[in-house]
């Protein structure tokens, strides 16, 4: 019997609300394992997991690797450079080869949006999407939700401002969908050039000036400027970004008590968050960027367990 309602986790919509609550509740137990001196439990002994990263990543890949190893699963890293692979056909060949090695779970990151669907149609192994192009990054959204859960009693009605490069961000797409699913009040803060054309997809209110809501929000979620995904210059100058969208000390002081600041990392110092704020980050208990990283391992452990720990 499966523990999750879905076999693959490609987009946030694959997960039901019950699934999400189950992952959130279990993440605490996995977090506890990370706190022990002997950071290992034998639960997924003998299970084989492949990290298949067609796009480079250190943070996400390492986070999944640590999560798998803490559960005693065998994780193998398989990196490929897209330049050596032709699109489409070769991906499937690669996957069929790997599938023949009798593996239990695939964690895949690829630079093409929507390639995951192609993969699920051609392969029989459960898949976790670790990020596909600009499309989705569901595990990032889950760890963000868990971070929020640890700071607030209830999701319903929490005011969150998702700020920055929405257009190029798979994190934005997964996060906004998930936050809305759990009943949070989402406002998008961005410049017109950083927004996708179909803003209705997000079903959220939109403003371009962060100062308009900085005092009301419970959560300030800063997105990373996706320079590597931008094929042209999306903003006139860093100064303009700073004027409307970035977090500096002045804005930080305006935020209300109990509010938190999040960022998927790594932070572009001086762009999304000022050098000054970053240098003093330890002084603010509301700064959750490092906590997000730790929570990421716990949430990924919970997800891998729920996907593999069933017959």
């Amino acid at each position: 019997m499966k523990m999750l309602s879905t076999r693959n986790v490609i987009t946030i919509d694959d997960l039901s609300i019950d699934d999400i609550y189950m992952i959130m509740e279990n993440a605490d137990s996995f977090y506890e394992v990370l706190d022990r001196e002997l950071k290992k439990v034998p639960t997924l002994r003998g299970k084989t997991i492949i990290n298949l990263f067609f796009e480079s990543s250190t943070r996400t890949r390492t986070s999944f690797e640590i999560a798998a190893k803490r559960l005693s699963a065998d994780l193998i890293n398989f990196s490929t450079s897209t330049s050596s692979l032709k699109k489409g056909e070769s991906i499937i060949d690669t996957l069929k080869t790997i599938q023949s090695m009798m593996i239990d779970l695939l964690i895949i990151r690829h630079s093409d949006s929507g390639v995951m669907n192609l993969i699920t149609e051609n392969i029989d192994v459960p898949i976790i999407n670790a990020g596909d192009g600009k499309h989705q990054h569901p595990t990032q959204a889950l760890l963000d939700l868990y971070t929020i859960k640890k700071s607030f009693k209830d999701f319903k009605g929490l005011k969150v401002a998702v700020t920055g490069d929405i257009l190029n961000s798979r994190v934005a797409r997964s996060d906004i969908k998930l936050f809305k699913k759990m009943g949070m009040d989402v406002t998008i803060v961005s410049a017109p050039m950083l927004l996708p054309e179909n803003l209705e997809y997000f079903d959220s209110s939109y403003i371009y000036d962060i100062d308009k809501i900085i005092e009301d929000i419970d959560i300030l979620y800063m997105l990373r400027m996706q320079f590597e995904r931008q094929d042209r210059k999306y903003y006139p100058s860093i100064k303009e970004y700073d004027r409307f969208l970035s977090l500096n000390m002045e804005r930080l002081k305006k935020m209300k008590k109990g509010s938190i600041i999040m960022h998927p990392g790594p932070v572009n110092r001086g762009i999304e968050i000022s050098e000054n704020v970053m240098n003093h980050a330890e002084n603010f208990s509301g700064f959750k960027i490092n906590t997000q990283v730790t929570n990421g391992v716990a949430v990924r452990m919970a997800l891998i367990y729920l996907m593999l720990g069933s017959t």
Binding site: M1, S29, V41, L44
Partner: protein, 180 residues
């Protein structure tokens, strides 16, 4: 599940726990080196009650931890437990006499998993097992040091333990399970 017979009521349980508390003190010649670990879920309140009894008798403070053994099961997946309870052992166990507490001893696999879990936390001096009910049918060479009540059962029966901390009532019943 259909209830077949009431085995223990609240007074019976209270007396059993008092008796076990005395046995523990007797066998360990006091309580100085004792720590308690309750197996989630119902081992936890039982451990708390026994520890409190001993504290009242010995005038000391005892440490109590909670252990969920889902990560150490030998049958991951076949028995669905979607939500894992918390494991919280906030003390050193090296060289301690651990009083491990569970509600029902059956095949012994839960205890086997608990031993594996505890060993990962350190090297205790001894591990002593307390169970409220021993219902037989061991599949592994595991035995309890302190038993509340021996209840012979058949395989298709089910021993249901209810405790006021979780179920608002104290009682132990035998039930007929519909499917096993």
């Amino acid at each position: 599940m259909k209830e077949k017979a009431l085995i223990l009521n609240d007074n019976d349980i209270e007396r059993i726990l008092k008796r076990i508390s005395h046995e523990i003190i007797e066998r360990n010649k006091g309580s100085e080196n004792l720590v308690f670990i309750g197996i989630q879920k119902r081992g936890v309140p039982l451990a708390a009650r026994i520890a409190k009894n001993i504290e009242d008798l010995e005038k000391n403070d005892l440490k109590i931890g909670r252990l969920d053994i889902t990560f150490y099961r030998d049958d991951v997946g076949s028995k669905i437990k979607p939500v894992i309870d918390i494991t919280d052992i906030p003390f050193e166990i090296d060289d301690k006499d651990i009083i491990l507490v569970d509600d029902v001893l059956f095949t012994g696999r839960t205890i086997r998993a608990s031993l594996d879990a505890i060993i990962d936390f350190g090297r205790p001096k001894t591990i002593q097992l307390v169970v409220l009910v021993d219902r037989g049918h061991r599949e592994l060479p595991i035995r309890a040091d302190y038993v509340g009540k021996n209840i012979p059962t058949s395989r298709d029966e089910f021993v249901e333990v209810k405790l006021r901390e979780i179920d608002k009532i104290d009682m132990v019943t035998i039930c007929q399970s519909e499917q096993r």
